[in-house]
């Protein structure tokens, strides 16, 4: 009896010690898998989800809060959402975004949606960042954008009344670092899925397109007309981008080398990432430098405005005459089709608002 009592006492003692000193181990945030749209499920590969940053309810919520919080900028005046506005499919209506010091950027802010389906994981107009998490590092620290110093930002977040607990909820630790910040924001950004446009509904058999919209789709797919599908996807590739880099004949000489800056290869000069054609109704101005204010200008560019250069994409046709010379009706129909790729539910989704 005496011996068993000793064992009981020892057991309780160890149990107490073990519980008392143990940090929160075994804590797991709540998994929240991405909701894959039916067309994506049917037609294309699964999204890219890093194994070291699984989607969780707490991670996404934290990422969303950070995305809309100006604390991320050097003087606490600018949030990610200021240049990536939800009502504009997470881009900026201004040609160039203004940083906290009043400096203008040199490129148009890219819209943010369907980012988990960027299979090569090259982000920005010039592909300078590999992975969504790594992408987040840049605008926060860029002196022409949010101009934060990560070390100082981490201290600020650590001293915040809410964030340490939210990081603990999301990642099991209240010790904040820049990597966890980028992971949380990347989780939120991966939830920005746009797949409910009129054309999506058409493909799902839920609505009909007008004759003009259908004709516009034919112009889009016709190799002798728009021939847009080689770079911009199709009814079989609902991303409406190849996520690759092309010179689409904007300039005969380059003030911005684009991909060439990153690779150092002159053959990449003037190449920029193909933007998705989803949500064009909300994402003006267009092109990497926002030079076109309207879709009409964009279509006119491909129809009559192509400029030759050494790196122009071979799929830009009839360059010596400026393009494929679409008729006015073809242009109007093409525009009508392009607008069917816009997704009003995406820009009004309360989950994507602060």
């Amino acid at each position: 009896m005496k011996r068993s009592n000793t064992h009981i006492i020892l057991y309780l003692f160890l149990s107490f010690f073990s519980c008392g000193n143990e940090p929160v181990t075994g804590y797991e945030p709540t998994p929240e898998p991405l909701k894959i749209p039916p067309l994506f499920e049917s037609y294309i590969l699964a999204p890219v989800l890093p194994i070291d940053n699984p989607q969780t309810i707490e991670g996404v919520a934290l990422g969303k809060q950070l995305f809309f919080d100006p604390i991320l900028s050097g003087d606490n005046t600018q949030a990610c959402a200021d240049c990536h506005a939800p009502q504009n499919a997470f881009t900026d209506i201004n040609r160039f975004s203004t940083g906290i010091t009043g400096t203008l950027g040199k490129r148009n802010a890219m819209p943010l949606f369907n980012l988990a389906w960027n299979y090569d994981e090259k982000f920005f107009w010039d592909g300078r960042s590999f992975s969504l998490e790594h992408q987040v590092f840049r605008p926060v620290a860029d002196p022409t954008e949010m101009a934060s110093i990560w070390k100082d930002l981490v201290v600020e977040l650590q001293n915040h009344p809410e964030y340490p607990q939210k990081f603990k909820d999301a990642f099991g630790t209240s010790k904040i670092d820049s990597t966890l910040v980028t992971k949380a924001i990347a989780q939120f950004e991966r939830t920005l899925i746009s797949a409910n446009s009129k054309f999506d509904k058409y493909l799902l058999g839920q609505v009909e397109l007008t004759p003009n919209e259908l004709n516009g789709f034919n112009v889009f797919m016709d190799g002798e007309k728009g021939d847009c599908f080689h770079c911009h996807g199709s009814d079989k590739n609902p991303l409406w981008t190849d996520n690759l880099f092309h010179n689409n004949g904007l300039d005969s000489s380059f003030s911005d080398l684009g991909l060439g800056v990153i690779t150092g290869d002159p053959a990449d000069n003037g190449k920029f990432k193909t933007p998705s054609l989803r949500n064009l109704a909300y994402t003006a101005p267009y092109m990497h430098d926002g030079r076109f204010a309207t879709l009409e200008e964009v279509i006119n560019h491909y129809s009559e405005g192509l400029k030759n250069s050494s790196t122009i994409d071979p799929l830009m046709k009839f360059v010596n005459q400026g393009g494929v010379q679409l008729s006015q009706q073809e242009k109007a129909d093409l525009k009508a089709f392009l607008l069917t790729l816009s997704d009003p539910e995406f820009i009004s989704n309360p989950n994507f608002k602060p």
């Binding site: 190799g223 590739n237 190849d242 071979p314």
Partner: protein
């Protein structure tokens, strides 16, 4: 252990070794996986994406040209054994020289070691594979063919620049699909996929088959390709597709196999 017991153990060990050796010599064909390696060349000189974007090649017509994109599809690898039975290795591969992707392939299905009278594959897709099937990786790679051209998938995309007869740099885009004349109702089709026969070979453990595409052959024979006349919008060009089909017969060859 006394000496007698020790000797017994030794005897048993020798017997078991003998048995194990004799079972190894049973020459039963072993099932193995085979690997494929896809390379490219220009008349015997290797071509990689590092050679792209340089007008350093001259085709049979005499035109200087460069490559900026080259990717193509192969499918339905087949091994014909000495009994005439054909082992199909299902699947396909989009070989992308531009991005240096998918230049090797090891099909999951294994096959018996030994002699095969013919190893072959399909360039492109047969009609059965091409239509009414959805390949997520090919869709994601924007490899589709518009429905107005019959749908299905590309077989090849080769693009680059060339110097035309006036010495002006012009783009070309040779996209190969199943030949279609969509000016007719119903549309007229002609098959352009073809079988590439790599010849007989012996398959053993860890065999890798190295095959090569001689890019120059696409421009060579029987149709000496004049890029001045045919350089773009080839998908809806029925005759251009047939010319590519004809020239494609001489494009692939077995480089070597190991071991």
């Amino acid at each position: 252990m006394n000496k007698e017991s020790f000797n017994k153990v030794i005897v048993i060990l020798y017997i078991s070794m003998f048995w194990s050796c004799s079972s190894n010599s049973d020459l039963q064909a072993k099932e193995v996986q085979v690997s494929f390696n896809f390379s490219s060349s220009w008349r015997g000189v290797p071509v990689t994406n590092a050679d792209f974007n340089d007008l350093k090649y001259t085709n049979t017509y005499g035109t200087s040209l460069s490559l900026s994109k080259l990717r193509y599809l192969i499918s339905n690898i087949r091994f014909t054994n000495t009994n005439g039975d054909i082992i199909h290795l299902p699947g396909y591969q989009l070989i992308d020289i531009t991005e240096n992707k998918n230049l090797s392939l090891t099909p999951e299905q294994s096959l018996p070691t030994g002699k095969y009278t013919q190893v072959s594959f399909t360039f492109g897709f047969t009609n059965g594979d091409n239509y009414n099937k959805s390949y997520p990786d090919l869709n994601a790679a924007s490899w589709n063919v518009p429905e107005m051209l019959g749908g299905g998938y590309h077989f090849m995309q080769m693009e680059g620049k060339f110097l035309d007869d006036t010495n002006t740099e012009i783009s070309y885009a040779m996209h190969m699909i199943r030949a279609v004349d969509n000016n007719l109702t119903p549309m007229r089709f002609e098959d352009t996929f073809f079988t590439v026969n790599l010849g007989p070979m012996t398959i053993s453990d860890n065999t890798t088959i190295y095959m090569d595409m001689n890019i120059a052959a696409w421009f060579d024979s029987p149709n000496t390709w004049n890029l001045n006349d045919l350089n773009n919008m080839m998908m809806p060009n029925f005759n251009a597709q047939l010319m590519l089909f004809e020239n494609g017969q001489n494009v692939f060859h077995l480089n070597h196999i190991t071991p």
